[in-house]
Amino acid sequence: MDSSAALTPPLPAAAAPDIAWLLVSTALVLLMAPGLAFFYGGLVRAKNALNTIMMTLGAFAAGTLAWSLAGYSLAFSGDGAWFGDLGHLALTGVGLEPRGTVPHLLFFAFQATFAGITVALVAGALVERMRFGAWLAFSALWTIVVYAPVCHWVWGGGWLADLGALDFAGGTVVHVNAGAAALVGALALGPRRDWGRQALLPHSVPFVLLGAGLLWFGWFGFNAGSALAVGDAAVVAFANTLLAPLATLAAWMALDAGRTGRVTAVGAATAIVVGLVAVTPAAGFVSPRGALAIGLVAALPSYFALLARGRSRLDDSLDVVAAHGLGGLSGALLTGVFASAAWGGTPGLLEGNAPLVGRQLAAVLATLAWSGLGTAGLLRLVAAFAPLAVDRRVEARGLDVALHGEEAYGSGEGAILVLASAGPSHDLPAPVLSAAESGRA
């Protein structure tokens, strides 16, 4: 068997800390999936809570599976400028041989969680009205067609890496990418039936805060794990992941208090996510003071975009465009401003290297274009086989009961057990039913 061959050549013992840290980081990024699911789940109405959680976790699962089968190969096999090749299709040749200082299989697993979380982010723009099956199909296709190439450009040795654009942990690859897909997806799917007629309010603000907290925790693996090794870069990224959201939170609460006189909990949760998004591309490239500045500045565009979106016709249900698209854009550009050679980056604008900002802008624009066009094409493709949106009646009843046959908050009253081998004795109509049929109810 060649299973023993896969175990050679061994990594040096010195690599053990890197392996341990990347194992932990991979699990931390995985925790962002339920974190995001609860963040999103709390923001929707109670009748769509389960569907929203399932849309998020389902996208994560479908995206990660598609990544394993084809996406990883297109991103990390070969060194073309635009695409990888099919050398690692279905994990061919992904074994325990070293890739950097960690086993190739571990590098794959870490990257797989990124692919899954990116497409899961897009769900927030489409929830409360999209069909579940169409969404899963789209998630799998999007990971291969849109995510994998952009990932290759930046981290797989593609043209953005050659250009020298900086993206430490995925400000462009993950967040601008997901934000662009969210914008196109929300426009293609159209608004929810109650959009503009009724205020669509979060059904569980505690879930939103819980989700934001889990996201922050998981984000330490996302950013500090992206150093791919134990060392200075991981430490800088870790501290910056702590600091930037604090600055965003402070700015956001001040804006909230100044505008309405009250500091809102949903606003605080949103601020944490925006700060995390903004520091993602910069995490291992800027000083801690730079991270604070990025967090502070990034609050402004996202905050005002959220306000404007609420008054617009764009029904991006959970503000993926404002939080992730715009937050990622701010972060990518500010990385070009604050990147510091002393802290692990290349010199940025503040160190006299203005062209870096231009390269960052090129990365953002290319990602916006690729993701926008790819998303539009894939939605059209899926729509050719099945409708994208649920029926209006289903939307009104709520997607939980209609699509999943479960309720998030059922009372448990009035439920009659249906036995699998139900003979005639189990098929008798309940007394209430017969009363109704005889016209007495």
Binding site: D194, R197, Q198, T260, R393, A396, R397, G398, V401, G405, E406, E407, G410, S411, E413, G414, A415, I416, L417, V418, A420, A430, V432, L433, A436, E437, A441
Partner: protein
């Protein structure tokens, strides 16, 4: 005066409220209730346990109105709540002996005539 009690589907509630607003019917009480009106039960599955939901969620509206508003109110609710399928609900019209507005002590027709509340400033 009549008390109008309507049991409607929760997913028609927005339309019902909008129709009542357009018909100038103000002042109502709303409760979330569970009930059964002869519709086919929804089937749900939890970990392999299949259950029929015999009681389904409904919304109960209670509206006290003076005589000229009775038919207007009933028709507004009926038109907005109807889907044509079993389970759309019922509207009951009950005679009312007396109504008192607690704030002022006004009685009967005066008590069910709406008054304008101070406007709420927009955000």
């Amino acid at each position: 005066m009549k008390l109008i009690v309507a049991i409607v589907r929760p997913d028609r509630l927005n339309d019902v409220l909008e129709a009542l607003f357009r018909a100038d019917v103000r002042g109502l009480t709303l409760s979330r209730v569970e009930g059964h009106g002869g519709e086919l039960e929804a089937v749900q599955t939890y970990r392999g346990t299949t259950v029929k939901m015999e009681l389904v969620e409904k919304v109960r509206l209670e509206i006290g109105v003076s005589e000229p508003f009775v038919d207007v109110t009933v028709e507004a609710i009926r038109a907005a709540a109807a889907t044509g399928e079993v389970g759309d609900g019922k509207i009951f019209v009950l005679p009312v002996e007396s109504v008192v507005r607690i704030r002022t002590g006004e009685r009967d027709v005066d008590a069910v005539t709406p008054v304008a509340a101070p406007a709420v400033a927009p955000r």
